[in-house]
Structure formats: C-alpha cells, structure tokens
C-alpha cells in the first residue's frame, strides 16, 4: 500500500499512529502535523514530576527527532489544521499551506475549557508544554494560589504546590473534589488526603468569577466570599479540538464520531485519541476518553484501521493520577453505579469497587497498585473489554 497518510495532531495518539503504520508495514508517505512546537512528548509528566520539581526540565519526547527520520515520518510542527473541505482530499493548514492525502487521521486532542468569567488576566491552565513555564514559575513565587476545579489536573497541581511550599486553596463546586464521579464517601477520603497534606479546600461553592484587584486577583464565590490570590489556575474540564472539521462531512458530537474501528462518516478520514467519540463494542456505547493509556492504544488501533483492519477498539479504560505521593488508579467504565464497596485496613489508602446492577463496573485504588492490577485482571476476565491490539 502506497497511500499517503496525513496525521493531524501532535499528542500520544498521533505519535503511536505514525510509528505503528511503519511497524504494520505501510510503505507510503506518512506526515504528522502538530500544533505544538515540540515533537510528541509525555504530557502526563507536566502536572507531576515536572511541576513538582525545582527545575521543570524539558518535555520528555516519546521518540527523539532522529527516530522520525529513520522511520520515514515527515513532521511539521507549530502548524494546525484549519479546514477540511467537504468532498476534497486535502487539508488546509494555519500557515496557508495545504496537504493532499489519501487518508487523514485526526488526533487533534483537546484543550482546557476556559469559561469567560474565569479568564482574568493571568489565569493559568496546564495542558501543553508551552503552559508549563508559567505555572512552574507561579509555584515558585506565589503568596496564594487558587485552583478552580478539583479534577485530576487540579489535584495534581495542588500536590505540586504543597510540595514546593506554595500556599494553595482548591475550590470545588461539588461537596468534595471528584464527588460527582466517585461519590461522596470516596471523594470525602480524597478530600481528607488533600487537607492532611496542607491544601486548603473550599467545596460546595462554585466560582462566580475572577476579577482583577489592585494587588492581585479576587476569586468571587457563589456564597459571596472573595478569595484573594496572586495566581489562579483553571482546571474545569476539556473540550475537543474539532471545530475545524465543521462542514467537512465528518460527524461531530462533542468530538469526532467514529465506529468501533475508528472510521468517521467519511471513508477517507479516521480519528483517535481525546478528540474521538467511538463506539466501544464491549460497553455498547459511544465513549470519548481523555486518558493517556487509552489514547496510546487508540493511536495504534487507528493505524491498523487506516490500513484496512476492521478490528474493533475495545480497551479496558485505565488512568492514574499521582497526588500527595499516592497513586490513584482507576480501571473500568462506570458512567452510572448504584453501590460502592469500600475496603480499608490499617495501611494508608483504600480500594473502592463500583457496581452497576450487581455487576462490577470499575475499581478505584488509592495507594494500592497491586489491588489495581488484580482488579484489572478481574474485569478483563469478566470479558467486557478485550485488548485493543496484540503487540
């Protein structure tokens, strides 16, 4: 096959796709077009080691630059796709150029949601390598950092902040960080972990807005209080980078809609990673997942699909987060659950098992990597998901 395959995106899914195409024997041209100026790198470290360390260091490339040349992968960086004309096999780029393709793989990922009311001058977000210097620098000098949003990014930034002795308050609209996802019992334990580590938590109070004050920023809460800060980090969720595909003939619905084998409504266009909403045959539902391990596997799956494979992509979702020197790990898929079994003993940490109609749907482990491994095997043998690919 000598098809010309263009991959739009510069994250882990794009990286895996590019190299997997070669591993699978594709001989035609492969071009990767990334919006960031770095070759694909390990994004998970940005909010972990790189932020918590004295020195942020450089992004850790998933493959060094020469590896692309060796594999015959053309790389264009600092350029984004701006339009895909309907019925045409060419993509228009932000530098005015355009690329013709036989097959287009969309891995454009997502970006942090920045609600207008929260975007005061100087509001920080952390998603890309380019965001890191400002956030890292802020932790070195802040008198008070306010983090808006108690999700995984918020929790990791809070962890890095206490580790670097930066006074930090985490503001969460729900009763506890992650309560809407994990339930009050589990979230309450995670809240305890934050407090014990020195994070000030303000929960149950959505942020009404952030305003400029004479000597910093004022974070105005729904209960009327105002928290003073000299740095504000917003971590209230992600939105997929898919606006450029409007009018292209590709179906969009909070992401690029694909079938179980990464194929969009256009036969010449496929999608994978954080931007894709795909049909997961194991769950009989369309999923859009923003987790590193899934994106990595998705990248390999989309490469096979681009070469004609119809193998469904059916991973067992997994993610992890490091907070206050403790590993939080999740395995499974539990959009709804009706019972949580918590097990604790004298050791720190715990295991929470989420059931939906008596069926085990997902497991959260905190500081118990071995229990997570066991849960993964248990869910796998239950047969809901199969490994995406044999490597």
């Amino acid at each position: 096959m000598k098809e010309r395959i263009v991959i739009v995106g510069g994250g882990v899914a794009a990286h895996e796709c590019a190299f997997a195409l070669r591993r699978l024997g594709h001989e035609g041209p492969v071009e990767l077009v990334g919006a960031e100026t770095e070759v694909p790198y390990d994004r998970t470290l940005l909010s972990k080691d790189q932020l918590a360390g004295e020195d942020a260091g450089a992004c850790v490339a998933l493959s060094e630059r020469p590896a692309y040349a060796d594999a015959g992968i053309d790389v264009r960086l600092g350029v984004r796709a701006v339009r895909l004309p309907a019925g045409e096999s060419r993509v228009e780029l932000s530098d005015g150029d355009e690329l013709a393709f036989d097959r287009l793989v969309v891995c454009t990922g997502g970006r942090p949601v920045m609600p207008e009311a929260l975007v005061a001058p100087g509001a920080l977000a952390l998603r890309e390598g380019a965001d890191l210097p400002r956030v890292h620098d802020a932790l070195a000098r802040v008198r008070h950092l306010v983090i808006i949003g108690g999700g995984f990014i918020g929790g990791e930034v809070a962890s890095a902040a206490v580790k670097r002795y930066a006074p930090v308050t985490l503001v969460e609209a729900a009763n506890a960080p992650l309560a809407p996802v994990l339930g009050d019992d589990v979230a309450g334990r995670l809240a305890e972990m934050h407090r014990a580590a020195g994070v000030e938590l303000v929960c149950g109070t959505p942020v009404r807005g952030v305003r400029r004050e004479r000597d910093g920023l004022g974070v105005v809460l729904s209960d009327g209080r105002t928290l003073w800060a000299d740095a504000v980090l917003v971590g209230v969720g992600m939105t997929p980078n898919v606006e450029w595909l409007e009018g292209s003939g590709v179906e969009l619905d909070d992401g690029v809609v694909t079938d179980s084998a990464c194929r969009t409504a256009r036969p010449d266009v496929l999608a994978a990673g954080d931007c894709a909403r795909w049909e997961h045959p194991g769950y009989g539902a369309r999923l859009r997942v923003e987790h590193w391990d899934v994106a990595m596997r998705h990248g390999e799956a989309v490469a096979a699909a681009a070469l004609g494979s119809e193998e469904p992509f059916a991973p067992l979702p997994y993610f992890w987060s490091d907070q206050h020197e403790t590993k939080l790990q999740w395995v499974g898929h539990a959009p709804a659950w009706d019972r949580v079994d918590l097990s604790e003993d004298d050791e720190p940490g715990f295991v929470a098992r989420y059931f939906d109609s008596e069926r085990l749907a997902g497991v959260l482990t905190v500081g118990r990597p071995r229990a997570c491994a066991a849960a993964r095997r248990e869910l796998q043998s239950a047969g809901v998901a199969q490994e995406a690919m044999s490597r």
Binding site: D42, K48, D49, V60, W292, D293, A373, E387, R391
Partner: protein
C-alpha cells in the same frame, strides 16, 4: 556504574510506554508484559524517563548498582 532496571510483571499493563521512551531496553512478551532485555541499549536518562512515565509504576531503576 551501571543501573539496575526491574519491571514488576504483576503491575505491568502493557502500555508499552517504556518501549518508546527507552528503545532497545524493554520488550513486550507474548502476554503483553514488559521485560528488560538490554538495559545498556538505552542511555540512563531514557531509563529514568521510562520508569517515571510508567502508567502503573511497574518500573524501578536502581541507581548506583553494580
């Protein structure tokens, strides 16, 4: 000085992140579990990157061994 590298096979989920970050040092076996095949194949900073990037914390590097 060499570095000792270990993979805990019980924890490994076969993300293959280490295989990308430290080319030549790791391989996935038939069960999709990473093995250390040649720690000298990759520079030490790549081995450290593989360890700290491992999604399940399955890789340990022992500095000062040997």
């Amino acid at each position: 000085m060499t570095m000792d590298v270990f993979v805990d096979p019980e924890l490994c989920i076969g993300s293959a992140s280490c295989i990308r970050l430290a080319p030549g040092a790791f391989e996935l076996d038939d069960d999709g579990v990473a093995d250390v095949v040649d720690p000298d194949a990759a520079p030490e900073d790549q081995l450290r990157a593989a360890a700290r990037s491992c999604p399940t914390g399955a890789i340990t590097v022992d500095e000062g061994a040997g």
